[in-house]
Amino acid sequence: MSDGIVLRNGLVFDPANGINGEKMDLCISDGRIVEKEGAGAKSIDLKGRIVLPGGVDLHSHIVGSKMSLARAISPDYHRLDPVPRTKSTRSGVGYTVPSSYVIGYRYSSMGYTTVIEPAMQALKALACWEELSNLSNLNTGLMPMFGNSMLTFHYVRDDDLNGLAGYLAWVLRAVGGFGVKAVNPGGTYAWAHRRNIRTLDMEVPDWEITPREITRMLCKAVELLGLPHTLHLHPNNLGCVGNIETTLVQLEALRDIRGHAGRKQIVHLPHMSFESLGMVDNGSPVWNDVQSGGCQLAEYYNKNEHFTVDLGQITMGPAMTMTADGPFQFSLYKMTRGKWASSTVDVELPGGGGIVPYEYRPSSPANSVQWAIALEFALSIDDLWRCAISTDSPNGGPFSKYPLVISWLMSKKQREAWIRRLHPLVLERSIISELDREWDLYEVAITTRAAPARILGFSMKGHLGIGADADIAILDSKTEDTDLSKKPNRIIRLFERTYQTYLGGQKVAQKGKVLTTPYGHVSTIHPVLDESDWNRMEKELEPLMNSWYSHSFCNYSVPERYRLPFERKSILDATAISL
């Protein structure tokens, strides 16, 4: 047992425990927050610096084949941001799609301690686990995708909810998954026929099922299993002007589904800015007619509690778009005429996702309106506990832009300064300039820590209560750092580099320098089914997989060897459900 650390005189913001800027001491022992300091604990005087739980990012692309493909086609980007080796850290590259080690270092020096990869190809999970062994300083989790898998469709077509739940459970165990993701359900499958599915009731080719049926059944299966995180849904018709209507219809289509054990939320809507594109009255779905749908979504959000959201804020400058939404990516490529990479995945993503480097330009009318969407939403909603900050990194811009995003949310002055640089259409097509609200530190702590942890179902993260993981971010603030809204550059500086970052009780970064590079854990959910149900799944899946995939069923699972060093397995008792 280690003697631990006491962080004295911190100004603590811990929304999950209702602590809003109180001077406090925090005791750490064995990687956890504890009640009393151990004898011989090392004492550190924080001199009133701001203390937050470690940052939790619930939607950021950090590993997997799409990252590799995006990196592989971008030497021009890497060259702009070389990262030299130091005594404690490995070298690499940064910019929009950093190399694996650099991702961990950059998050760590910003005070983030947990980041979830929201779009894993289950079939390629082995490569993700390998990659995680080259990504230190973070706790992570991997969300496999199910929205276009022929196996999902098989159970949906048979209207076999229990079979679908069994399939999800089997895959989560086999690949070490954390949650269930669906991207453009049915639409990316249709892309194998070079088509898309933009509305909820259009049939998926080959299958005679619709996105509505797929989405509802996936949602129900997640609730049936009782996974800690709800269905993570990238809806249909993404990136299309006017798609706020489709998004609302899709959310409405799930509203009646009952949450597991009485929980109110049953779906997470990631990167809302991409699916809240409004259209001017009597307009047509072209970029000239775009308007912000942020308020419209906020209005629905304020009235309906069944979903959670992350922002997917557009930052201006270079980005790398990467989604499992093949048709959307192709249409973006047709606009940019630059590079377009994509890759189909056997059985699970027949149409293939896509990757298109993209630069958001302040001079672009469409990009300027897009910029306002998430801000308009965030500044119009009542309940911040269902909302998390993200840029859908690297889609809206790399995660290293979070400090800038926070400055927009905290400072009207900052927004005004940016609006002056943007295309004037933003004033016409959004109400962003009329919004006076400014988030305070407590609200930032909710949306970057407490809320995302709660949305993910983590009880030990996103807060600083007794028993929580000692993942902590200390900002290098001074007592005169009040009235931050008037000092946007100061906000950026505070969130860019922490004074200190702790991961599992270990000091890992200080003033922007990574000191040590321990590995965090990878959270996985291990559903345990009744034995006969498990046997049913194995019996069904083996012949199906052997006939559909191009490799053997028994080579699907990620071997323990790759998982053991990092895996933090949560056993989920699902024996009560009967398949």
């Binding site: 990196r71 021009d76 080796r85 062994s133 059985v347 293939g352 071997p559």
Partner: protein
Amino acid sequence: MICCIYPREGFSISSKKTVKNVPCVFCGCLCDDIALEVENNRIVKNINGCSLSKSKFLNHLEDRLLGPAVRINGILVEVSLEKAVAHAAEALTSARRPLIYGLSSTENDTHQEAYYLAELLGGVVDNTSSVCHGTSMIGSQESGDPLGSLAEVRHRADLVVYWGSNPQFAHPRHISRYIRQPGEYMQNPKKDRKIWVFDVRSTATSRIADEFFQIEPGTDLEVISVIRALVRGHEMDIDRVGGLAIEDLAKISEAMKSVRYGVFFYGLGLTQSKGQHRNVDAAIRLIQDLNSFTKWVMIPMRGHFNVAGANETSTWQTGYPFAVDYSRGYPRYQPGEYSAVDLIRRRETDVLLNVAADPVAHFPRDALEHLKRIPIINLDPKRNVTSLIAEVNIPTAIAGIECDGAAVRMDGLPLYLRKIVEPPEGIIPDRDVLKLIIARLRMVTKR
């Protein structure tokens, strides 16, 4: 049913067993349906494998390097592993511009050690793709990469193009496993799935194809560019290109636009012939254009079983797929400058660490001249041409036969490789040899 053994540390090797669903560690198809019969720690039968696979697995004990050896006064002398490692570390630390090369016939963990070592040394690390599909990477860095996957090809493709590739010779089961097999939406592939071959000469593959288009050597770029122009609806004011009549090319482009699902497999005949990455770039742009009409994907016919893995591990660690230079303390990438053959040709390399390749057998003559003059540290299971002139030979276990690991199939699918038998006594995986070298290096230099 348990249909395979999940290896764990120290799993027992009984005297007689059959191991099923083993990935074949020979070519980029990485067929994982191989069944091996093992008797007394020897593989005696390979079921399902092609002739290449059979010879790799059944002859794995032949031509082995027996033990670590160091050249003393011109003669290779057997030494302890420790001595060989110390000698290797010494040579590498005293080098001004060390090069680590190979990596595509071993598994991913080894790559990670190799990059770490290169970083510590401030050296260069390159994999064998710089002499095969590196040009494909450069093409994709220009334009992107509309990549397909093999089961989807089997389920859906009604037109299969092999360009500059002869799978019947180099990937013997490619056609029988993925192309001639029925798929979910392609019940009668013999009748409904067409195979076209574009090549400069008749090959074993062109002879079984539905159509063979023989083009003149060195004209791939012109032919692809003309097809692309025709696909885009441009008129051509020439009669022939690359030996093919414009009318025929017009028919080809029309057919490519009107299939349901096309796949473009390409090999060294495209990537290493005149035009190189420009050929691949043109092919990528053609496939991208075709996607405005119908579904098309492409897949490079990767040769060594894990060359795709070498590109991927390099990319996630350094940002770049091959030809990475660490001399400034961070990764830099410049094929033609940091690629192995070019460095050696310019006589920049002063020590070569070869891992699981045979550069002396495959590099051009002027590079060879220089290789003969510099110390080579050679990590490979087998005797090969490189081992003959190496200064240090350290024999290693064969990945996927004598040690486990991961590899990546030509379409990006990662697969777990098995340890089937114990390596010969005293022989350890190359990743472990690299770790020893790194440990020694850190001890000596305190890096």
